[in-house]
Structures are given as structure tokens and as C-alpha cells.
């Protein structure tokens, strides 16, 4: 009922940057104070719009990294070398600056306790961002749904939210596993290489357990991971996907 009441027009709002957190060499989290923010569901996005002095505008969609229960809205942005928006957000933006955004947006790639599980989250690169929101929400809401995150990153240095994910992985009901595709440190105890059928057979429960699966990452990652799950017998209707491009998203 409450949700029905918030189905209204999307309007652009101004947020003020309250904090900037360097997550990795290429990603930064932006914590925003937004007056009259109407709340969000874990997994939703916002659109961010930049306007140049000559009036030129560029707009991109970013997943929300914070849980609905968190005090501030947090976006985590990966800097793309040929990006129009992400270099500004990760290199130029300062605490106290204003940022124009609208949201929350989307209702498909969303998880909350009543959707149940077991909950399987497969992340490629910065595809982990909406899962931080979901896992923080899982924790804050005291959900008893078993949850597993399998996160694929190139190197240990590319793992976003590394300390927080390690901590979340010690919570009851949450398991976090990381695979490093390009380079593994000595004595690395996680997985190595891209997510494949063998890895998913270990992590993804069985098709009989009927996990609710969310896959988020670059298009190639999503196609490969979702395809492997279907080959293993998981029901396509229980797999929700979200793709972002190598540039832009």
C-alpha cells in the first residue's frame, strides 16, 4: 500500500555530496544528502545528470549501493577511461558539491525479504554494487533467507567493498566468495578464473533448492553466468539479470 502511494512522476532533485570514499583505484563511493528523498528498495538505481556551462547534458544510470535502512544514499561509480560522466564523478566532484539526480528507478532487479530465497548473487566487477545494497538490507532487516554472493573481480585490488564483504560473510546466513580472474595473490584461498559451471555447481545450490538468482555485470559476464546456470538446470524464470556496458552505464 505504501509502495503504491510513491508511484509518482520522476523529478530531478539535488543532492549534496557528504562524503567521498575511495573504494579501489578505479571506483569511488559518493554519499549524498538528499532532502525529501523518498526511500528506495535494495537493487534500484538513480539517474545522474550533468549539465555543462553551454547547456549540454549527459545522463547515466547508477545502482544504489546503500541499503534502504542507511542514513545516506550512496552511489559507487567506476571510472571509465572513455566515459562522459564517470571521470567527473570520480575525479572532479568534491564534498559539498551538488549533484542532480532522479529516482529511485526500476523494480525488477530488486530483492527484499518477502521474495525469499535461497538468494544467490553473482557479480562481475562493479556489478557488485546493487548486491551491497541487498546484503546490507538482508543484514539490517534481520532476514533469515540464506544468501550467497559469488563475486568475480580481476585482481584483489579490484575487489570493491573488500573489508565490508569479508565482514558481511561472517554474518549468519550470508556467505561471500570471491574469484579472481587475472591474478591471485600467494596463498589465495578463494576461487581463480571466470565463473563457470564447476564453480556454480559448488556455490549455486541445486536446481531442486530453487535459488532466486540475481546476476549483475558486464554483458558478457551476465550471458556466461546465466547461461551456465540454465545448463545446470536452474529455471530461467528464477534468474534476474542486469547488464551494463563497458562504457556508459
Amino acid at each position: 500500500v505504501e509502495r503504491a502511494a510513491v508511484q509518482r512522476r520522476l523529478t530531478w532533485q539535488l543532492g549534496t555530496v557528504a562524503e567521498l570514499i575511495e573504494e579501489t583505484a578505479r571506483t569511488k563511493s559518493i554519499a549524498l544528502e538528499i532532502p525529501d528523498w523518498r526511500g528506495h528498495r535494495a537493487g534500484q538505481h538513480v539517474d545522474v545528470r550533468l549539465t555543462a556551462e553551454d547547456g549540454y547534458q549527459a545522463q547515466r544510470s547508477y545502482s544504489i549501493a546503500s541499503a534502504p535502512e542507511d542514513e545516506r544514499l550512496v552511489l559507487t561509480v567506476e571510472r571509465l577511461a572513455d566515459g562522459e560522466v564517470s571521470p567527473y564523478l570520480t575525479e572532479t566532484l568534491l564534498v559539498g558539491d551538488e549533484l542532480e539526480l532522479r529516482g529511485p528507478i526500476g523494480g525488477y532487479f530488486v530483492w527484499e525479504d518477502q521474495l525469499g530465497g535461497p538468494l544467490l548473487l553473482l557479480a562481475g566487477g562493479s556489478g557488485v554494487v546493487p548486491f551491497r545494497s541487498m546484503l546490507r538490507h538482508h543484514e539490517a532487516s534481520g532476514s533469515e533467507v540464506p544468501a550467497r554472493l559469488l563475486y568475480s573481480a580481476r585482481t584483489l585490488g579490484d575487489v570493491i567493498y573488500r573489508d565490508e564483504l569479508t565482514l558481511l560473510g561472517t554474518s549468519d546466513g550470508i556467505e561471500v566468495r570471491v574469484t579472481l580472474t587475472r591474478e591471485q595473490p600467494e596463498a589465495w584461498e578463494g576461487y581463480a578464473g571466470r565463473i563457470d559451471r564447476a564453480m556454480l555447481e559448488e556455490v549455486a545450490w541445486t536446481p531442486g533448492d530453487g535459488p532466486l538468482v540475481y546476476v549483475c555485470g558486464p554483458t558478457g559476464f551476465v550471458e556466461a553466468a546465466a547461461g551456465a546456470l540454465v545448463e545446470l538446470g536452474h529455471v530461467p524464470g528464477r534468474i534476474r539479470t542486469e547488464r551494463f556496458g563497458a562504457s556508459g552505464a
Binding site: 500500500v1 509502495r3 503504491a4 502511494a5 508511484q7 512522476r9 520522476l10 538505481h45 539517474d47 545522463q59 544510470s61 532522479r102 529516482g103 528507478i105 526500476g106 523494480g107 525488477y108 532487479f109 554483458t219 534476474r240 539479470t241 542486469e242 547488464r243 551494463f244 556496458g245 563497458a246 562504457s247 556508459g248 552505464a249
Partner: protein, 88 residues
């Protein structure tokens, strides 16, 4: 060009339809497949936004914005039903 999905255009769709549309279920006029808008194959790097059926590649929707006015072509959709749980 990179293929994205309907999640990537949740904002523009919300703007056009006045409500959340990625959970709406579309039926392809080409092959009859039904899927949430979020699962459509979406191309956003052209002059407009194009959404295609993941099964048969039929163009389901085209959104083009020129001088602040958005033109929407949905001729590839036989039906578009808002998700009942989201409609309130």
C-alpha cells in the same frame, strides 16, 4: 554495440509512462514470447533507444528524444501489461 537490457532504460521509460515499467510484461508481436521489459535486449548508443526481443530479435520499442520531446514507437509489442504486484 553493447547489448544491455531493460533495466538500463528504467528512467526514460518511467518518464514516458509515468510509472515503473521494467516489471511490465511485454509480448513480442513477432514470435509471441512474453518477458518482463527488464529482460529485453536494449541498445542505447544509437541516436535513440531500441529494445529488441531476446528470442527473435524483433524491434519491440524505439524511443527517440528530440528537442525535449520523446517519440515512442511500440509497434513490435503485441501487448504490454503492467505487473499487478507493482501497480498498487
Amino acid at each position: 554495440m553493447t547489448v544491455l537490457d531493460g533495466n538500463a532504460i528504467a528512467g526514460p521509460l518511467h518518464e514516458v509512462f509515468g510509472t515503473e515499467m521494467t516489471t511490465a510484461v511485454g509480448s513480442c508481436a513477432g514470435c509471441g514470447a512474453t518477458a518482463p521489459v527488464a529482460e529485453a535486449a536494449v541498445y542505447i548508443r544509437g541516436p535513440g533507444i531500441v529494445g529488441r526481443c531476446r528470442r527473435c530479435d524483433t524491434v519491440l520499442m524505439v524511443l527517440v528524444t528530440i528537442r525535449g520531446r520523446t517519440c515512442v514507437d511500440l509497434r513490435g509489442l503485441a501487448a504490454l501489461e503492467p505487473a499487478s504486484s507493482e501497480g498498487g
